[in-house]
Symmetry: D2
Subunit: 277 residues, 4 copies
């Protein structure tokens, strides 16, 4: 198989010299193989044409390299054209649960990619609208939580023609990819990243409402008090009390370029693949 | 729509006079509409032809009425021909999370059924084999747990080309239908019953391995000590140390005949549909 | 035994006509027995001398009646002189887990109290200081949580000469009384209300740090980002990044006047005393 | 301070050459300082007088060295005279959460002990009786679980004059020392090991009854089906349906000889003292 990667962009974690050094290496290796390389500003790298985040959406690209932690990958997916695949390199970040390789394997990885030895891994994304206002898509999760910390709202969740009403501080709606993120931190299961479903995880539910795994269907969440909405832990919005928050599947999946099939990558990244004692 | 229910069998909870009374009512109503009715022994009811559990598998049937608690419904699904639909009536049981109606709605329900006002609701089932020996199918769950209570086995779980090894007392492999059963009792999420996936719930994992929601793919579980295997909480088997237990989808789904679509029936049955305070 | 209740005050839930009606009844019954009665403003009741919240701290009192939900009782304990006992009546509130009786038992309860048929139930309280600034005491809990919802702080917890550092959104430090509150909602155990200990419950800990039950010793919590501090879910404060928050036992316990010993009142109030199915 | 350790015994993990080698080293070091040394059979070590487990209870001792994993320490505490202190060395075991040192620090540790640089650390133990039959004391936990795996008993828990009845597979009654054991594996909090209290952890409670932390008071557990009782995960007994199992404090605490105060040793041993990412 021959690669059809002709144009690639590189996005890095802000203010990370580690990530910048990795970006230089990627740019050099791609340049040697005549791939047109862009660096997403503020990143500037020898051999790469700088491009602003705004212009990136209109740039023709075959692949994006996201270099940093999971935060960098999540941000990149909201920045790049929505059908372009992404290759995630963990460098200077924490766990790197979304990443395919660490910075020490860049050379082999770029050769594998240019040699066509890769596959695509599609992930469900979700999106919310409030009063017709469309929020950015989320690869991991949409967190809805109370603004006032002295009141516990009654939260209504409508789905599949039914309604649940419970007192809770808020709720996280996560994709399988996001099941290892905030939903996991509040006690949730891991959903295999290849699945197409969602998990609703109540936050501090007074009656300990259980988590709920559902098909990817439209959901409407309403809170009796003003709420924050946080997209992938990175962008925040506000919504008034009693306003319906509609959540539905984002039409374009996020596409990872991957080198190795790993059935249980998520558990391995969380430290559960081998027994420790 | 006209019903094509011409031959029906009735199975009841053992030693429940409540369930027997409900069975009589069902038999009478069906008989009045010229439906051929069988009572599964030891149940005997006026107007119904008694049939043994062994012969039931070879009886041509359009519907089975299971009257009792969830245990009765689970047992019925292992007793009836595997493609025949079942209508579950809660009578004399506990929560009746699988049931469609209580005994007080029998009359309306039978009329609705004979009037063709129903739909079918298909549920994933699973099955295990040990050394080629095939165990009965499970609608809810397959529980694998240590025989010796003074040793904590190392349990290996192979799926999707990968392997996890952790110390734990055992593991529950549940369908979405079973997610409100044992898996729920040990802290698991509720999986919408209409989904096609499985949940693996470790029992007393030393490292607190999280629960895992996966596609319905083949799984192999192996324990370093002798194990019990329990099918739907009702039938038990033993497997030697280190013997692989293969778990896979049972070819025939379980089919419920239902009257009302309920998006969140499961949460409602668990008491979470409305807020309580 | 003869009661020595000579001077009592009544505090009610704001804007609750139910609570006001109950207050009138209490005032009348106390007045008939020559008890001097104060109503805490804005409450005004026939036969009671109105007193402002500010003056209440300097008023000599033998007992305070708090009428409303748990919020009313928590607020009352921060308002009344710190050694005065409190009798809690559930009226117009939610669960009333702290209350001794409902509004329908006022008459018998006041007679029991005036007849000396009661006992005192002491509860540990905690208090925080930040940079020498003393926050109000908490009967239930002190919640420390991140201000920015797009950053996960590293939280340091120092206690008993040791330090734990973990990434989490925040932490709840709860008394046994508060163990049925926020700590319970995020999955915590119930601590018997008569104990003298604390529970630390991490909020959305990235590594799922377990909850920790400890003796009532001094704790210092520090977060790498700015935090909110919420006292009993009612009063909020802010603390800068990296500032130590000292938490220690409040010198005066909260004292409930109670009529009936109930070993497991808390579980009963949460609905777990009897089996349901 | 001068040590008063004149007579010591050594108990090791069975069939562990690692533990035997460590025992030889301990025996040699103690012998050099004129301490009388016993080896508990089947262990035989140069310079130590062999003693059977039966005779050990009647041997005058100032200290016991338990060398192996936590299992060895737990077993040792049921074998040695109940007031004699124990020093736990982790060798060839798993986590060694109860141990003070690893085998690589034996030399410094024995010098510290003989130099009197140690302190005693007392731990609550519990004991059960069934129909007057007294079971061995537990340092970690008493686990009560159903014999039949196809029936879910109704379990009654009586304490402090009250009763809880819930359907569950069983219950674990743990000391603070045992809170990192089975109770932790099923989701429980960590109780600081220096506390005097108990935690009741329901196993697979149908209604998800929460865990309960209580003072060290008498408890009576009764199950509607036959139960296994397991002491410290090592000794098993059976009890008939409906027979009361009385659990109460064992009169003699377990005493550890320790070298270093560690406020949060337990969390450190579970891997939570430092942040990892």
């Amino acid at each position: 198989m021959v690669s059809n990667i002709r144009r690639a962009a590189i996005i890095t974690k802000m203010d990370s010299s580690e990530a910048s050094a990795a970006a230089s290496k990627v740019a050099r290796l791609l340049g040697e193989s005549k791939v047109k390389v862009y660096s997403v500003l503020p990143l500037e790298v020898t051999g790469a044409a700088p491009v602003s985040q705004e212009k990136l959406k209109d740039t023709e690209l075959d692949l994006v390299f996201a270099i940093g932690g999971d935060g960098t990958t999540l941000r990149a997916f909201r920045t790049i054209p929505s059908k372009v695949p992404l290759f995630s390199i963990n460098s200077g970040g924490h766990r790197g649960i979304l990443s395919e390789i660490g910075a020490d394997s860049i050379e082999q990885a770029v050769h594998a990619i240019l040699g066509g030895k890769y596959f695509y891994d599609s992930r469900t994304r979700i999106q919310a609208t409030i009063n017709g206002k469309v929020l950015p898509p989320a690869l991991n999760d949409i967190l809805i939580t109370r603004v006032s910390l002295t009141r516990t709202p009654l939260v209504s969740i409508k789905l599949m023609g039914d309604e649940i009403k419970q007192r809770m501080d808020g709720i996280v709606v996560s994709t399988p990819t996001g099941s290892t993120g905030h939903s996991f931190s509040i006690g949730g299961p891991v959903l295999h990243e290849g699945m197409s479903c969602l998990i609703l995880s109540p936050i501090a539910s007074v009656n300990r409402m259980p988590q709920l795994v559902i098909p990817v269907e439209d959901i409407v969440v309403q809170s009796t008090y003003e709420s924050h909405i946080i997209i992938d832990g990175q962008e925040t919005f506000r919504v008034d009390a009693d306003k319906p928050i509609k959540i539905f599947r984002f039409p374009d999946d996020a596409t990872f370029l991957r080198l190795q099939k790993k059935g249980m990558r998520q558990l391995a990244k969380l430290g559960f693949s081998k027994f420790e004692f």
